[in-house]
């Protein structure tokens, strides 16, 4: 059956060298390839910055043609619980490697493992080291219990730089023969916030909607408001005109289909670009924080954001 891959998969770097903007990390990983050996690894960092990609590429380079047999990927957050560790992971750790000295178990989102499950993992990591290495991937290393951190070499993946994002996006646009405008590229970098997956998805989504990728197309498909729109809404609210700011909010949520979460995040980002005193900015951040909290607790995004606007408009 004919199909088309999402570009994140189509262009997922297959070799360590093809991973962009992660230089110091790649150098360390390549030394493991040379030695054909590695310790347990902990990859920490935000989404979409190359943790899984690096793990897969590393496995491919270490194991060559046998990489699939020697590499086991598990999503901890979907099947958390201690049983996964006790059964699935242990079973794989026990089996013999094929054509090499060890296998790799890649535990994605390992910070979502309960601490019981993490504790169950400690033993497994030690008992089977002769045949099995772990790569743990997580967003927050602080959520990984100390004993596990101490068993791993730690790699910190920060958000990718704008240049790294732009480089990759330009490359894909070129391969896909897409008319990517400069402002479109900038917009993709803006919405991506250093997350390559977001960037690539924004590019592919735009390509589904329009023929040439412009700034407004990117904001439209990635469900982001133009930064000026958000800023304008805040300004209108701050001037005391609650009803008008609410209209803008309505159009963002209903017509443009943004999520409350995205709007809050953008409001936070724009706070620092407002022409108000620093003291006022502090007050605003405080109010946004409260609103974000309520957004999670509440049922209706519109109502929660509205309260934030009411707050802004009553100085």
């Amino acid at each position: 059956m004919e199909f088309e891959k999402p570009w994140t998969e189509k262009y997922r770097p297959q070799k360590l060298d093809d991973i962009v903007g992660r230089d110091p990390i790649i150098r360390r990983l390549k030394s493991y390839v040379d030695k054909k050996s590695m310790p347990h690894l902990l990859f920490a960092g935000p989404p979409g910055v190359g943790k899984t990609t690096a793990a897969i590429a590393l496995a491919k380079e270490i194991f060559g043609e046998y990489w699939k047999q020697n590499f086991q990927e598990t999503n901890a957050s979907d099947e958390r619980g201690i049983n996964v560790v006790r059964e699935k992971i242990k079973d794989f750790a026990r089996t013999k490697p094929i054509g090499g000295d060890f296998k790799i178990i890649f535990l994605d989102e390992s910070d979502a493992l309960t601490s019981d499950a993490q504790n169950a993992l400690r033993r497994t990591m030690e008992v089977y080291t002769s045949t099995c290495r772990f790569i743990l991937s997580c967003n927050y290393s602080s959520r990984i219990i100390d004993p596990i951190q101490s068993r791993c070499a730690i790699f910190r993946f920060g958000p990718l730089s704008n240049d790294a994002i732009k480089f990759m996006i330009k490359k894909i646009a070129h391969e896909e023969k897409i008319d990517l405008k400069t402002d479109g590229l900038e917009a993709i970098a803006y919405v991506s916030e250093g997350d390559m997956r977001k960037a690539i998805n924004a590019l592919q989504a735009s390509s589904g909607v329009g023929d040439s990728i412009t700034e407004s197309l990117v904001y439209q498909v990635s469900s982001r408001a133009k930064p000026e729109e958000i800023k304008n809404m805040m300004k209108v609210a701050l001037s005391g005109d609650f009803l008008s700011s609410r209209k803008i909010l309505q159009s963002l949520l209903l017509e443009q289909g943004l999520s409350g979460e995205d709007i809050i995040m953008q409001m936070h980002r724009e706070t620092f670009n407002l022409e108000v005193s620093d003291k006022e900015k502090v007050r605003i951040v405080d109010m946004i924080g409260e609103a974000d909290f309520r957004l999670v607790q509440g049922a209706n995004e519109f109502i929660q954001l509205e309260f934030l606007l009411a707050n802004l408009s009553t100085g």
């Binding site: 088309e4 060298d17 110091p24 957050s77 480089f167 049922a299 209706n300 109502i303 929660q304 309260f307």
Partner: protein, 457 residues
Amino acid sequence: MLVEKYFPKNFSEIKGQQALVKDILAWINTWGNEKKALLIYGPPGSGKTTMVKVLAKELGYDLIELNASDKRDQNALNRIAGNAASSKTLFGYKKIILLDEADNIHGKEDFGGAKALLEIIKNTQNPIILTANSYWEVSQAIRDNCKLVQFKRLQSRTIFSRLKEIATSEGIEADDDVLMKIAEQSSGDMRAAINDLDSLGKKLVKGDEKVVGSRDTETSIFEALSKLYMSNSIDVRKEFFDIDKKPDELLLWIDENTPKAYKGKELLNSMNLISKSDIYLKRAFNTRNYSMWKYASDLMTGGVSVAGITDLRYIPFSPPKYFQVLGSSKKSRETNKIILDKIGKKCHCSRKVARTYLPMISALFLNPRKGALIANFFEFDMEEVKFIDEKNYRKIELAREELLKEPEKKEKIETVPIITEKKVESRKESLKKVEELSKEESKEEKQKNQQKTLFDF
């Protein structure tokens, strides 16, 4: 009820479907030569059932009807429709069998219904007519054995002229503008439009049409709201006891109208109470402990009343613009999970991350071919495609069928596209640049990293 009173008495009163009358008459008059069953499909209130009833009456047929409120499993169908279908006309009576609302006759509850129906259609001695809203909800096998007639949404003009006729003969005073608005709002549904006209009384003025649309009486809520804003008392909450709205919907009404009544601090305090009510509602919903609704109801009514008072004589109340239904059904949650798992498996990520692929997929769905290609990759079934994009799923399914017909192209190579020597070099160079840039940055990053995790993620 006006819809019943003005039920079309003959073909000429069925508006906007005249061209189809000919087709249908031709089918029944030559019945036996062509397909033995007729499938009429089209949106609600476009005249499908009406057409069949008028047809039977005008041509002197007995109508044997089974609709969705009847059980239509194998037994029932065989008993009622099957008997009628196989028994030749007795005493000269002619029969039409109407299977009204035949969407989903193949569903679980009507077990064996589709198969039985197919047999009945094939062997019937009498004309069978099926009606359905959606072509797609009638199984392919049944469609193939029916002559198809599509009823389109009625045009606003058509509905308008029927409304006008009715208004004149009922002595309803109404602006053409208002009637036209009602016609437009009905989106092609004659029944809805007539019902709206019915609900507006004998004298219609501009703006009346705004009150209809959500199809329940909203006068009582307006009264309760004006008491809420005009007084300053927690007892106002009692005014809302009889109002037939769920608290989440009521909250939206209050949310919509409060800024019209209050300003400044009063407004802020009210918005705070509204926000808190929303949080109580969510808690009640999550814990299925609906006794918590009462706190929300108290705060949004009595609380908001106490928070302020208005001296406005007239507040232009309006229904909420923003309506978001709480939660989702169990089935759709299941589908959602399956979709995310399919994405997660192919894209090496958890459900949480998989969710971030949905906007991209929806965007590709706007283009049926691209949509079909990506749906093929993720191996979504039709229900899942529909879940992601209710509007376009049919087009996508059609495009997928088309793709199946095309001779299979060789599967593309798995890895990153092949790059010529030259490109590799230039790529390496640019890679180097990026490396250098990121080297500089990584120094800064190290110091900033800690902060970033705290504030930004």
